[in-house]
Amino acid sequence: MNYIPINEQDKKEMLARIGVKNTEDLLSLQIPEVLRAKKLNITEGISEQELLLLFKNYAKKNKSNLVCFRGAGIYDHFIPSLVDEIIGRSEFSTAYTPYQAEASQGTLQAIFEYQSMICQLTGLDCANASMYDGATAVAEAVLLAVRTSKKNKVIISSAVNPEYISVVETYTKNLNIEIIKIEIDEKTGSVNQNLLQSKMADDIGAVVVQSPNFFGIVEDMQVLSEISKTKNALFVAIVNPVSLGLLKTPCEYGADIAVGEGQVFGNQMYLGGSTFGFLAVKKALEWKIPGRVVGQTIDKNGKRGFVLTLQSREQHIRREKATSNICTNAALNAFAGCVYMACLGSNGIKEIAETNISKARYAFNAIKKIDGFEPLFSNSLFFNEFVFKTTKNVKKIEKQLLKENILGPLNLVKINKKYKDCIMFAVTEKRTKQEIDKLTDILNRV
């Protein structure tokens, strides 16, 4: 297959019009012979039927559709059927970036609605059209905070997802920005408030905290935000949007910037991508925000319409002085998030948070009763994820669960050697009582 709708007769006419004998002439006119490539060593093309079979065979080699109790940044949530129906529409999926606004009102209004709902959820004033994922959103938030505060030191909690910390380090190492990681309180699994206070200084540009954090623990964001403000540092909150139906919003605790991983809203897990990152800021930071932003306006006839705006921040105009180099972002994934939020509404957003925490507590309490399992952070509030320390063989647990098509908890020794024999469970609304009971039953028998 090559999807080329031109036959030999067409080619002849076209070549004649151009004034060359064949396509090879066109190429050799422009490219020196010595630079020409040999024949590509790639297997011959195949038909659609063969293609589907080929990929079915790849697919079969995966152990998929497991009952998922693993999280650590990517979660198995239920996706309403309407989401795929809408984002599957070719008018959305094959549309170009909406630079020609008159021809892109569908995409533009969808992004505007997405921005609106992110602002409503976080309580902040301005959201962009998306970042690649949660990790890069955090990194861009750090750059934004440094740009705004003009101070190049940033404190980040060690309980932030290690993937995010890794990306922040990549993004900042060539830029004379110092990232100061602060250790958590090993008893509570959350930021050590006294330690943070002691590290605050006049040259700290921002404090970055995730809540619920990587270990599932809900941080006291109000207090941490206040500590940041004692030295006028910006407070960057990394949040799980599913939790915002229950927990305090970034606005309520005075965050300047809110970011997070949007996969939980309407996007399947797909081995971790593609997903989207959301980024929202207080009004004062509007013109400094990275990425695309859609604004409402009117046309010549007074009709309401939407348009990419504040473009002079972006790379195609500002080049090396742009707020970011981002061009293509994660529009369709963010749009899936938009449809998802619309499907749920404020009622659904509340319900889903309540269902998540209830199911997680149910599972937590059941596992706690099993001999050989002790919660790592016993008195801390968690949302839908929690850590247990076990005396049982972690590898054996994984194996036994996998035999029953269950993807068990994450072995945290992979994150840090000090978490040997620690395993982290995620429980979302998608896990039924039956599945949770089966999990605990197997854990008991291992």
């Binding site: 013109w287 504040l310 473009q311 002079s312 105009i317 500002r318 002085k321």
Partner: protein, 124 residues
């Protein structure tokens, strides 16, 4: 094109007005006309020092961004905050209400190196 006689001009289309030791800085009528509708400005911080011809502010239209260069060396003592909420003032009144900021003049000679209204007008 309006080119007030009492002002000094840089070839990068900024004007300077002397009031004692204070220098008011803005962009010329020609500049605002070329840029077309101004939508945003980035103003310098009070207390910041600039050398002559150093970029010190940014003016933006929908499709472009332009650096503004300090016509003289000095320290910023005042910025026109009104421009942040109403950048269109620059288009409407580039020499009066649309000034960008005020510098404390460092070197009297810097002014002498700028163009007069006549020279600037001829250069356009």
């Amino acid at each position: 094109m309006n080119v007030p006689n009492e002002l000094f001009y840089a070839k990068t289309h900024e004007w300077a007005r002397k009031e004692g030791n204070k220098i008011y800085v803005g962009i010329t009528d020609h500049a605002q006309h070329e840029i077309t509708d101004i939508v945003h400005v980035e103003l310098p911080e009070i207390g910041k020092k600039f050398a002559k011809a150093q970029p010190c502010a940014v003016v933006e239209s929908v499709k472009s961004a332009f650096d503004i260069y300090s016509p003289v060396s000095g320290t910023v003592i005042e910025v026109n905050e009104e421009l942040l909420s109403s950048p269109e003032i620059i288009n409407q009144s580039p020499y009066e209400k649309g000034f960008f900021f005020v510098l404390e003049l460092q070197n009297e000679n810097d002014l002498k190196e700028l163009m007069t209204a006549e020279t600037y007008k001829n250069s356009l």
